[in-house]
């Protein structure tokens, strides 16, 4: 069971909802992923072209918890406003703090991220914060009381996987709240890697929505997260520089 604030989840895979080829594929992929948490962005409605379809119409709203992000915010104040708008939907009280500090790398701004997390905690939100893999920054966020720390594996949508497993493992070792690896996951290998390091869950979007076959990839990611979690619990063998025979050395018939 993954517990974040007052919420509990059987699935450790959080799925973003951006950039799927179409709603049918997206619906199938969401089903295949067996996720319980869907992330969304908050944006203006198009008042000149109303009644465009919305993915929320396609799914059973009771089956999922919604995790709106504050993407688009450059400051803590903007992030808090977006979070409050999302909250007014009545769909959720969770928020993913995401304040980008660099348009090229989409890496988070540590100062505004800390500030927004604190403000939203004071507002009573369940706060999951997207952060860099700065180890002390992650600890600072925990000290504020965030409900989950979400360090990036590599830049959003880059698919480079886990560039710095050491920092991730330090963040995980020091953590008293769940660590969800967010951003940069490119393939099931990356998801397994994160879970083997001891992560409590994975948040990904492009790796599934941008795959040639998003539905099949969603299923692969579901299995990968389970494999990684089991692998972490099972206690892997140590790495050794040289070899160790798996067949007996003695008793060879010659």
């Amino acid at each position: 069971m993954l517990k974040i604030g007052d919420y509990q989840f059987n699935s450790r895979l959080f799925l973003g909802t951006g950039k799927f080829p179409n709603f049918d594929v997206q619906k199938e992929a969401v089903d295949a992923s067996e996720t319980e948490v869907l992330t969304f962005a908050v944006r203006r409605m198009n008042i000149f072209e109303p009644n465009q379809p919305n993915f929320l119409e396609k799914i059973d709203l009771r089956k999922y918890k919604f995790l709106p992000n504050t993407a688009g915010a450059k400051t803590a104040e903007e992030a808090v406003r977006i979070a409050k708008l999302a909250d007014a939907s009545g769909l959720c009280h969770m928020v993913k703090v995401e304040i980008i500090g660099c348009d090229k790398t989409l890496l988070p701004d540590p100062v505004e991220t800390l500030k927004a997390s604190e403000m939203l905690l004071n507002e009573g939100f369940t706060v999951l914060t997207y952060t860099s893999d700065d180890v002390v920054l992650a600890r600072r966020l925990e000290e504020l009381g965030v409900h989950a720390v979400m360090p990036g594996a590599s830049p959003i949508g880059s698919g480079q996987g886990i560039i710095n497993p050491l920092n991730l493992s330090f963040i995980i070792e020091q953590a008293k709240v769940p660590v969800i690896v967010d951003a940069g996951i490119g393939s099931p290998k990356d998801a397994v890697h994160a879970m083997e390091l001891g992560a409590d869950g994975i948040l990904l979007n492009t790796a599934v929505s941008g795959a040639e076959d998003p539905v099949k990839m969603a299923r692969a990611m579901k299995l990968a997260v389970e494999a990684g979690k089991l692998g972490c619990e099972a206690g892997r063998i140590p790495m050794k520089r040289t070899a160790t025979a798996s067949s007996p050395l003695e008793g060879v018939s010659v």
């Binding site: 950039k19 969304f40 962005a41 944006r43 919305n54 708008l85 999302a86 769909l91 979007n205 492009t206």
Partner: protein, 67 residues
């Protein structure tokens, strides 16, 4: 009456006096529409009796695909 909706200045007929009327006039619908009226976010129930005045600033936002 002129309103400032989602960053655009639009003219609406006199008949449009409330947020619900504006929503109907704009033919807006969304599984989770969120309304902000002059910087104040309205909870669902508050919308019904939200009266519009000329120059009011209204934001209609919703959940869209995002990661």
């Amino acid at each position: 009456m002129q309103l400032h909706v989602n960053g655009e200045f639009i003219e609406v007929p006199k008949s449009v006096k409330t947020i619900p009327e504006l929503i109907e006039h704009l033919d807006l619908s969304s599984p989770a529409m969120i309304v902000e009226h002059n910087e104040v976010i309205l909870q669902k129930e508050e919308r019904l009796n939200a009266v519009l005045s000329s120059g009011d600033k209204i934001e209609f936002v919703q959940f869209v695909g995002g990661g």
